[in-house]
C-alpha cells in the first residue's frame, strides 16, 4: 500500500468519525431527536447493503425486507426462546446476521441467474413468501401483532454487561436547549456503521469491487476473461443480505419490538427510495438518503398528513432531475469544479510563462 492511499484511508476514517460524532448535535439543532439519529444510523446499514447490489451489480432487489424483517425476527426469537435469562446482544445480532446470510445465499443462488424485471420479481416473490409465512406462523411470531417485550439484550464487554439503553449525560447546547435523550445505543450504532463503511470502502476499492463493476458493464467480456459472473453476483447478494439482516436485528433490539410490516413490500420499497434519493454508486449515498428521508418524514409527518405524497414527489423528481442522487450530484459538481479550476490554473500558468 502506498503512502498516499494510507493517508486517504486515515483521512476517511477521521472525517467519518467526526461526522458521526457531530451528527446528533447538529441533528438536534434542526429538531431531529436523538432516537431518530440512532434509527437513521441503523437503517443506513441496510441501505448500504441494498446499494452494494443496486449500485455495484445493477440488480434491483424488490425483496430486501425479507432480510431486514427476517433479521429482526430471528434476533427477537433467539432472545425469547434461547436466552430469556441471559439476553446477550452479540449472540442475538450475530445469529440474526448469520440467518440473513444463509437466506441470502439460498435466494441468491436461484436469483442471480436472472436480470432486470425477472430478478426484481423473483426477489419480490421470495419476500412475499417470507412475509406470509411469518404472518401465519403465529406460535413463533404472534402473526400480525408482531413481537414485543422481548428480553432487553445486554452487551457483554469483558467483565461488564452493558445496557445500551443507558442514557448519556445531558449536553447543554446553548440556544438549542439540552441534548438530553441520547443513549449508549447511539455510540454503538455509530461504531457498527463506521465498521460497515470501512468494510464497504475496502470492498468496492478491491479487485472484488472492480470485477463487480466490470460484470455490470459488460458481463460477456468479464466472463470471457475468466470471471465467474454468477459467483461474484451471489457474493454481492450474500453480503448485501447480511448487512440488511444486521440492520434489521439492531433496529428490532433498539425499538424493543418487531412488526410484520418490517417484512413487507413498503419496507423493501423504502430501501429503494433511500438509496436512489441519496445516490447509487456513492458510498455515502444510502446514508444521506436514509437520513434525509427519515428526517423529513419525522418533521413533516408531524405537521402534514400527506407526507408520503411529498416523499413520492421527491423520489420521482430525483429520478428525473438528479439521476445520480444527492451525493452523486454534489460530488460531480465538486469534482467538476475542482477539475475546471485546475485547468484554469494550468492555463494561467502557461500564459504567464510566455
Amino acid at each position: 500500500m502506498t503512502g498516499a492511499t494510507r493517508g486517504s484511508d486515515v483521512r476517511f476514517a477521521l472525517l467519518t468519525s467526526i461526522v458521526l460524532a457531530v451528527f446528533p448535535f447538529a441533528f438536534h439543532a434542526i429538531d431531529g431527536y436523538a432516537g431518530l439519529a440512532t434509527q437513521i444510523l441503523i437503517v443506513s446499514i441496510a441501505s448500504i447493503g441494498f446499494n452494494l447490489l443496486l449500485g455495484y451489480t445493477g440488480l434491483l432487489s424488490y425483496g430486501h425486507a425479507m432480510f431486514y424483517g427476517g433479521g429482526g425476527y430471528v434476533a427477537a426469537i433467539l432472545l425469547i426462546r434461547l436466552m430469556p435469562d441471559h439476553p446477550n446482544l452479540w449472540l442475538a445480532v450475530i445469529g440474526a446476521t448469520l440467518a440473513a446470510t444463509i437466506l441470502a445465499l439460498l435466494v441468491g443462488a436461484l436469483a442471480v441467474r436472472l436480470y432486470g424485471i425477472y430478478f426484481a420479481l423473483l426477489t419480490l416473490a421470495f419476500a412475499q413468501m417470507v412475509f406470509f409465512i411469518v404472518e401465519q406462523a403465529k406460535d413463533w411470531t404472534s402473526g400480525d401483532d408482531g413481537l414485543q417485550s422481548f428480553p432487553n439484550a445486554l452487551l457483554p464487554l469483558g467483565p461488564y454487561n452493558v445496557d445500551l439503553g443507558t442514557a448519556l449525560p445531558s449536553v447543554p447546547l446553548g440556544p438549542f436547549g439540552n441534548l438530553a435523550d441520547i443513549k449508549l445505543w447511539y455510540i454503538f450504532a455509530a461504531l457498527v456503521l463506521f465498521c460497515v463503511l470501512l468494510l464497504m470502502r475496502a470492498l468496492t476499492r478491491s479487485q472484488f469491487g472492480e470485477v463487480l463493476t466490470a460484470i455490470r458493464e459488460n458481463e460477456e467480456r468479464s466472463s470471457l476473461v475468466g470471471f465467474n459472473a454468477a459467483a461474484y453476483r451471489l457474493a454481492a447478494f450474500a453480503i448485501s443480505g447480511a448487512l440488511t439482516g444486521l440492520s434489521g436485528s439492531l433496529r428490532a433490539l433498539y425499538d424493543g419490538t418487531v412488526a410484520v410490516e418490517s417484512l413487507g413490500i413498503d419496507r423493501s420499497g423504502s430501501f429503494v427510495i433511500y438509496t436512489i434519493v441519496g445516490g447509487v454508486q456513492a458510498l455515502f449515498g444510502p446514508v444521506v438518503g436514509s437520513a434525509v428521508i427519515m428526517y423529513l418524514e419525522s418533521v413533516l409527518s408531524a405537521h402534514i398528513s400527506y407526507w408520503r405524497l411529498v416523499e413520492g414527489v421527491i423520489f420521482v423528481a430525483v429520478i428525473i432531475f438528479l439521476p445520480a442522487g444527492i451525493v452523486g450530484t454534489l460530488s460531480e459538481r465538486f469534482s467538476g469544479r475542482a477539475k475546471s479550476r485546475a485547468l484554469l490554473v494550468q492555463t494561467v500558468r502557461a500564459d504567464s510563462g510566455k
Partner: protein
C-alpha cells in the same frame, strides 16, 4: 362439494379480475417494453372515479366515466413523464413507475381519506342466482360475463384491427415496423391508454364486490404481476390462463388450507421464474431485455 363449487366460482371471479388487470400490464410490456408498477394505480383511480360518479349519477355512469378518466390520465403520463423511460432499462422503469404509484396512492388518500369504502350493489342486481345446489350473487356473475365480453373485444382489437397488427408486429420487431412506416408511437399510446382504461373500468366494476382503499391498486398489482409472470410477460393468452390459474389456486387453497393461500401464489411465481422464465405461454425471445 357445495363449498368446493363455491370456491371454484369465487376463483373464476377473482381470476377474471386478475386477468383484466394483467391484460393491460402484459400488452403494455409487449408493445412498449415498459414494466409498469403504476398499473395498479389505474385500477385505484378507476375505482374512486367510479365511486364518485356512481354516487350521483348511478353505477352505469360510473362505468363510463372511470375508463375515460383513467385513459386521459394514462395519456398525460405517457406524454409528459414516461416517454424518456421507454428506451431505458427495466430497473429505471420500475423505479419511476413505482414512484408514480406512490404519488397516486397518496393523492387518493389525501382526497378520499384512508378509510375503506364500498359502493353497494344496485338493488336490481342484489339478487342471487341458483345454480343447482349453490346460490351465487347475480352481480358477481354479471361481472364475470362483462370481463369475458371485454376480453373478447380486446382480443378482437389486437388480432383483427390495423392497430392491433402494428402492436403485434411491434412485439416481434420494433425497428422493422418503424422502417416499414408503421406509426408505432401512436399505436403505443393507444395501447397504453387501452390497458389503463381496462384497469380503470375493472376498478369501478369491482368496487361493489371488493372494497376500495387507496392501497387497493398496489394490493391488486402484486398478484397481477404473479399472473403475468406465470402466463408469460407480453402474452395475451398467457394473462388469461395465468389469471384463471392463480385465481383458482388462491380460492381453492383458501378453502383447503387458508394459511397457505397467499404463500402458494408467490411460490408458483418463483417456480415459473426459475424453471420457465418466459412463462407458460410466453415467447422465449422476449426474456433477455
Amino acid at each position: 362439494m357445495v363449498a368446493l363449487s363455491q370456491a371454484l366460482l369465487n376463483g373464476v371471479v377473482l381470476g377474471l379480475i386478475y386477468v383484466a388487470i394483467a391484460v393491460g400490464l402484459t400488452i403494455v410490456f409487449g408493445t412498449l417494453r415498459l414494466v409498469n408498477f403504476a398499473h395498479g394505480a389505474f385500477y385505484a383511480i378507476g375505482a374512486y372515479v367510479g365511486l364518485v360518479v356512481a354516487q350521483t349519477w348511478g353505477l352505469g355512469a360510473g362505468f363510463i366515466a372511470a375508463p375515460i378518466a383513467v385513459a386521459i390520465f394514462a395519456i398525460l403520463l405517457d406524454r409528459f413523464l414516461l416517454r424518456p423511460f421507454y428506451a431505458k432499462d427495466a430497473t429505471s422503469q420500475i423505479l419511476v413507475t413505482f414512484g408514480i404509484a406512490l404519488i397516486v396512492e397518496e393523492t387518493l388518500k389525501l382526497i378520499f381519506g384512508a378509510t375503506t369504502q364500498q359502493y353497494p350493489v344496485p338493488a336490481a342486481l342484489a339478487t342471487s342466482f341458483s345454480l343447482g345446489a349453490i346460490t351465487y350473487p347475480a352481480y358477481r356473475l354479471l361481472f364475470a360475463l362483462g370481463v369475458i365480453v371485454m376480453l373478447v373485444l380486446v382480443w378482437f382489437f389486437i388480432e383483427r384491427t390495423d392497430y392491433g397488427l402494428i402492436v403485434r408486429a411491434g412485439v416481434r420487431d420494433r425497428t422493422m415496423v418503424q422502417l416499414l412506416g408503421g406509426n408505432i408511437r401512436q399505436a403505443s399510446t393507444i395501447v397504453f391508454a387501452l390497458g389503463a382504461a381496462i384497469a380503470g373500468l375493472v376498478g369501478a366494476a369491482a368496487s361493489p364486490i371488493y372494497s376500495i382503499a387507496p392501497g387497493t391498486g398496489f394490493a391488486f398489482l402484486v398478484p397481477s404481476f404473479v399472473v403475468v409472470v406465470v402466463g408469460g410477460l407480453g402474452s395475451f393468452w398467457g394473462a388469461v390462463l395465468g389469471g384463471l390459474l392463480i385465481g383458482e389456486l388462491q380460492s381453492v387453497t383458501t378453502l383447503v388450507f387458508p394459511p397457505a393461500a397467499n404463500v402458494i401464489i408467490y411460490l408458483c411465481m418463483a417456480l415459473v421464474l426459475l424453471l420457465r422464465p418466459q412463462g407458460l405461454l410466453g415467447e422465449s425471445e422476449v426474456i433477455r431485455q
